[in-house]
Symmetry: C2
Amino acid sequence: MDLLIKNAVINNLTTDVLISDGRIIKIAQNINVPSKTLIDAAGKYIVPSLKNGHTHSGMTLLRGYADDMKLQPWLEEKIWPAEAKLTPDAIYWGTRAAALEMIKSGTTFCNDMYFNFEMSQKAYIDSGIKSASGPALFDFFDPVKAKDMKINCNSAIENTDISQNNSLSLAAHSIYTLSRESLEWIADLATSKKIPVHIHLSETEKEVAECITRYGIRPAELLRETGLLDINLIAAHTIWLDDYEIDLLAEHNVTVVHNPVSNMKIATGGVFPYSKFKERGIRMMLGTDGCSSNNSLDMFEDMKVAALLQKFHTNDPEIMKAEEIFNTAAGTDTSIFPQLSSQIKEGAHADCLLLNQNTPELVPSHHLISNLVYSANGSCVDTVICNGKILMEHRRVKDEEEIIERIRSISEELYG
Amino acid sequence: MDLLIKNAVINNLTTDVLISDGRIIKIAQNINVPSKTLIDAAGKYIVPSLKNGHTHSGMTLLRGYADDMKLQPWLEEKIWPAEAKLTPDAIYWGTRAAALEMIKSGTTFCNDMYFNFEMSQKAYIDSGIKSASGPALFDFFDPVKAKDMKINCNSAIENTDISQNNSLSLAAHSIYTLSRESLEWIADLATSKKIPVHIHLSETEKEVAECITRYGIRPAELLRETGLLDINLIAAHTIWLDDYEIDLLAEHNVTVVHNPVSNMKIATGGVFPYSKFKERGIRMMLGTDGCSSNNSLDMFEDMKVAALLQKFHTNDPEIMKAEEIFNTAAGTDTSIFPQLSSQIKEGAHADCLLLNQNTPELVPSHHLISNLVYSANGSCVDTVICNGKILMEHRRVKDEEEIIERIRSISEELYG
């Protein structure tokens, strides 16, 4: 047996949790079997880890580089020129820093979209967290770029050894950076290779208007026509959708990802239509988005802001209760990623957190999940286990000093 | 000399900071004088501490007791019955827990409003943080209650030794829980004793409508007519104000306190009219509100949510820039409380924080204040100094274990 956790608190009961080959194989009192590693979790809650449905990890190098700006000058004058300087090595270390921050705040998976995904991929594997990522796909409606994109994409898929824990998702940027023909090509590739596709969808009202101007239809209809609704699609943001589009997403089992902090900070207007998604049983995840538009990767914060935003926007304090957003963040609806589980139960993937009951933010303990959503932040996590392996114990993560040192020196070199 | 901080980083320069009698008396390189205590702050930023403009610390015992409910059933079925059980001892320890959480998240002052303020007062003094608090004043329009309130208030003021660091502010609950006659009495008392008054103002649309029904005028006009605008008034929430009322607050130098998380969570509708306050030069503070409506006392979180809410509500990412909300939270506009300073400078009160430069949330360091507002949370604070005394060093606070233990046992006893 790989790991035995003794005396953890789950649903107010003290229990032992036995882990082997990345799975929870037994939950019971007084488990006494030999194990390679033993954790005494007396006085600690055990809860499922959080899963980040949408981020751009390499952008961690741009945290705080430009804030409080309007979208176009922010992108054109700041973010794009800064991104142009990012080397593969910078993206590797930026992703290591993102993974470090996620581990330290209780997140063990992210669905990533960025350039040089091979470097991010390697960073996730070296960090020990699970991930989905893949080649970044955009052509800016230029047939030459589209041709290069396809060649690079095929080559990347063939040359990448993607284990199940660090799986592939094709990072199709958006309908406003990909031609219709490329969207169709991506849908075909995803179908033949059985790879999910990760896309930005209807984050701003402007992109909807442009889609209608260009194609005479709304974005979700374009996704249907290009075949992208017939595959496993993960759509990030999904704010500016009409009811017909929401029905389309429901019919086609699209997974939508809410990024509340990023949406508010960039001031895209509109709000993720949570109730409509919930009514239709649409699969939802929670995401941080990247460090230049959040600027934190702490999913505890995104849980709280998600609940606050829904309550504020609808004038209804009963909407998006603590359990709902916690379950979303833990990955209830992540069946699209078979490497994930959302619960602490026998047979589940062993991705879990230990939190000390005596953490001030968790006291008193009238309601653990309420404390996790409304009071805690990522620093309340004591121990992180991913795939049955301990990535953080008593808040110590391996390589932390080296990662921070690298980020500081790369940042100085590129932008100093 | 009491305290010498060596090698701290301020505005990208390494410097020493010398503290005596609660004040910063010198900032320079290579200060070498004997001091009772020495801190080597190499690799640490020094920044001003945060000041919490509105809270109800005793409610920390009700953290997570009831969430995700509509206002009236939440108050009537949950909060008020639970509050009725609070003993003076419970309020003392609840306030110690609140102070502990504030210290651990870099806050060294709060303006409090709660029952049994003598117990809260004692708790703040024992914790070492600065505070303003005073008798909780409400009469529910009952002349008998009003008479008792006055007797108790006079007695409380006379019998309380309030040092400047833990000063008095009369906790006049609101215009909907105090008769006009009592509001006038409070204004007279505040004038004669030179004590500030702390009041809830226009948090909900309903209370404005009720004021108009009862008095034929809007809340700020009632405050003017009862004399409450002629004293040092700290008004919490201040959402549902018309332009004339905002002009009144400006003319009378009222200090307004924004509580963004609480407002969103309770779903009061409306948004703190930040730009209008700013245009008129109105003094602003940031507050957490109490633990039953937030449920955290981490002012770092409130800084971020304040900025997000303004950007979202106005569709303008340029509104409330990081520096603006940081300065508000650090207390730029707290001249109403002479025990506070908002900057690290010679002559200022020695209320400051040290943060490790290698904290993941603060790396890279393109822009420190942006990192503090958008990326950090309270756990990034390493050391807290209040009134020249070290309240936390390397995240250790005195009495933490005892406070947590007491809160757990009191909570079990009252609500178990």
